[in-house]
Each structure stands twice: as structure tokens, then as C-alpha cells.
Amino acid sequence: MTPFELVEPASLGEALALLDPDDPAVRPIGGGTALMLMMKAGFFEPRRLVSLRGLGPGITGINEGADGALDIGAMVRLGQLERSPVIRRAAPVIAETLVTHSNVRVRNVATIGGNLAHGDPHMDLPPVLIALGAEVVAASPSGERRIAVENLVESYLETALGGDELITSLHIPSQRNRRAAYIKVTARSADDWPALGVAVSLAVENRAIRAPRIAIGAATETAMRLPKAEAALTGGASWRDTGREAAAEAPVIGDHHGSAAYKRVLVGVTVERALRRALAGVEIAG
């Protein structure tokens, strides 16, 4: 790795002042698990890294509101999320997803904020968080704003975050009365990066599906919702037809995990399976 300056500010204000909106070689660092690989490969040569390690409890907690909504500090490590009794109860799909995300030693270091800011489309959490309706809270010198996770990543490794803006927390609305499932498809070996990830979240009222959210990752340029498939499901389409709608709608692209044609077939089958898993044991009318 090329030499760089590593600074460890003690407050958010200090951290924001150390970022430079005009210099892409100045970046915040959380756990650094992804950044370090890019730096070792010579893909990223930072001038300055701003470590968020010293920012304190505001950025490291997992809090559940009275209504069941979750606020998760950006520096919460993936392993903490996976083992958190609060997460396991309030949003179990997150803990289930993390079990096959990378491996234990990496999850013990990688942070949720870093994972989202990295903007890699081959990640498991973005489709899950999109399906749960999550938002990130981002801070910059001009203030704070909320960005829906589905709008956070704009293209491959490119996010909506400004050069002097960083994610401080993740907000997940209450999942009470909602069910969710995530299915990861790996094409080469069980521990491979996903060729496709499908997350679904929905409510069931009076034996009818309400407010479904269907999101996919790893097969499109960014993780995204599939609104036509959601509308089809709300309108009473079968799980299989919902999958067909999803496959027709998704702007699938091929990569070394599979061709676009292959992944399109996967989308249809996997959306159907994800719905079946989320609705296991639930009776639906019609």
C-alpha cells in the first residue's frame, strides 16, 4: 500500500472537517475490510483516511424505539448485528443474512456504515435493507439528511454521498406484523459471492398480502426494488407469476458469476422461493 495519512478524530464535527469534497483520495474508514483490499490491489491510493473509530457511542449503538423501529450506529460491526438479541427479535432476516456474508473474522471487523458506503453491488445487505424500507442518516458540514437505502448507491461503487458526507446511522422502520426472507444464490461454491440476492418483506392482513417490497442485488448494477412485481403480488398474482414479472422487469446484467440470461432465470425462480419462505406456515386467500 502507498503511504497515507491516517487521522483519528474524536468527534463527528472534527471528522467532517477532515474530509475534502474535492479530493477523492480522502475517505472515511470504518472497519476497513473492503477498503484495505482495494488499497492492497492499488485500486485505491488514499492521501488521507479519516478513521471513525473514536467517534463514540452515538455511532456504535443498536437502539430499538418504543414502536419497534431500529437505529443502528454506522460503526456497529456486522458480527455485533448478527449476534444482537434486539436484531434477532426485531429484524431476524438481518441476522440470518449475515451468517453467510463473508466470514466470522471479517464480520467481526466490518461495519454496517462501511458496508453500505462501499457501494459494491455484490453485497447481501442492501437488498435486505431495501426490502425492510431502511434509510441511512448522512451527515455533512451543511447538516444531516436521510437517504433511502434504495437511493444510496447510484452505480458500481458510486454512492449518492458527497465527498464531505458520511453515514452516521441506519434507521429501520418497525417490522412488527411484517415477515421477511432473503435468499442468496451462489453459482460456483457455497461460500462464493452472490450471483443474485433476493429479499422480500410483506404484511399479511385478513389472509391477503399487503405492502410487499421485493428487492434484488448482485444481478443488477445496483440493488433495487422491483415495483411491477410488487404490484402484481398485491393484485393477487401467484408467487410464480410474481417471479415471472420480476424476471421481466429487472435490468439484469451478466458478470463472472453468471450471464444475464442465466441470472434472469434465477430472478424468477428465486423471487418465488423467497415469497414461499417468507410466507411459510401462513394461509393466503385464493
Binding site: M1, P3, F4, E8, S51, V104
Partner: protein
């Protein structure tokens, strides 16, 4: 840019001057001379560099030394009690769980992390937990047997101590 890092390594305080880009594994091996922690892939795939930081297994080739400031690091050198091998080390020897031995320090540090949270892991749990620790010799079978035996021995010695 030079920085001073102070941390605890295997129960003893250590202070070193490092660059921002110095990896924890470089600090351990090159500055402190603790060469039991290995570097295999250098890209977070293989697990030869696993150490414990504040009691959790991490890959020391992907952690900056500065990120370990003020923290408690344990390496394979801190596992045995003098000349007496730790029960997990004994189990690796008794079960022929190593051939070339390159992956063994990382395997043992990962195994100890698993057993700390799960004192009686099933074979499946062991295999799942070892994702990210690669061995090119054994085919893993004897490593899994060793971790099961090591966990059992650790439960036994804990029961004897109580």
C-alpha cells in the same frame, strides 16, 4: 507519517512506532518478532493471520496496526501455558490436524473463538465456522475432529476447575 501505537499483546504491554499503512500482522511479526501469526493470501481469504483482538477473532492482515491502539491482542504465542500446550493445541497434535502447519495458528485461533461462544459445537457448526480458514493439506477432516476433541477437553478442564 509515523504514529506511536500502544497495545497489549499476549498480556504484556507493547509500544511501537508505525506508519499509518502498517498492518497489525506486520507489527506483530516484524516489530514484535511474533512470527507464529502467518500471512498467506494477504487478501482476507485464507485465515492464516487470525488473531484475537479484544477477545474476538479477526484477520490481522486486513487491520491497520493503528486500529489496534489500546486494545488487547492475543496471538498463537499466547495460547500455551509455558511448555504446556493448550488443550486445543494438544487436540490438533493428537488428531493429526496439521501437515505443513502453515494454516494451524489461524485454525487454532479461530477454533478458540468458536469454542468461547459455543462450548460444544456440532460438526456442521465447526465446518461453517471455518469458512475463511483455508487448509491445503488435510482436507479439513482431521481439523474438524481436533476442534471437537479440543472443545471436549476444554469443557473437561473447566469442569475439573470448578
Amino acid at each position: 507519517m509515523q504514529k506511536t501505537v500502544s497495545l497489549t499483546v499476549n498480556g504484556k504491554p507493547a509500544t511501537a512506532t508505525v506508519e499509518g499503512r502498517t498492518l497489525l500482522v506486520q507489527l506483530l511479526r516484524e516489530t514484535l518478532g511474533l512470527t507464529g501469526t502467518h500471512v498467506g493470501c494477504d487478501t482476507s481469504q485464507c485465515g492464516a493471520c487470525v488473531v484475537h483482538v479484544d477477545g474476538e477473532a479477526v484477520k490481522s492482515c486486513t487491520l491497520l496496526a493503528v486500529q489496534a491502539e489500546g486494545r488487547d491482542v492475543k496471538t498463537i504465542e499466547g495460547v500455551a501455558n509455558g511448555d504446556d500446550l493448550h488443550p486445543m493445541q494438544e487436540a490438533f497434535r493428537d488428531n493429526h490436524a496439521l501437515q505443513c502447519g502453515f494454516c494451524t495458528p489461524g485454525m487454532i485461533m479461530s477454533a478458540l473463538d468458536l469454542v468461547k461462544n459455543n462450548p460444544d459445537p456440532s460438526e456442521r457448526e465447526i465446518r461453517e465456522y471455518l469458512e475463511g480458514n483455508l487448509c491445503r493439506c488435510t482436507g479439513y477432516h482431521n481439523i474438524v475432529l481436533a476442534i471437537k476433541a479440543g472443545a471436549e477437553a476444554m469443557r473437561g478442564s473447566k469442569a475439573a476447575a470448578e
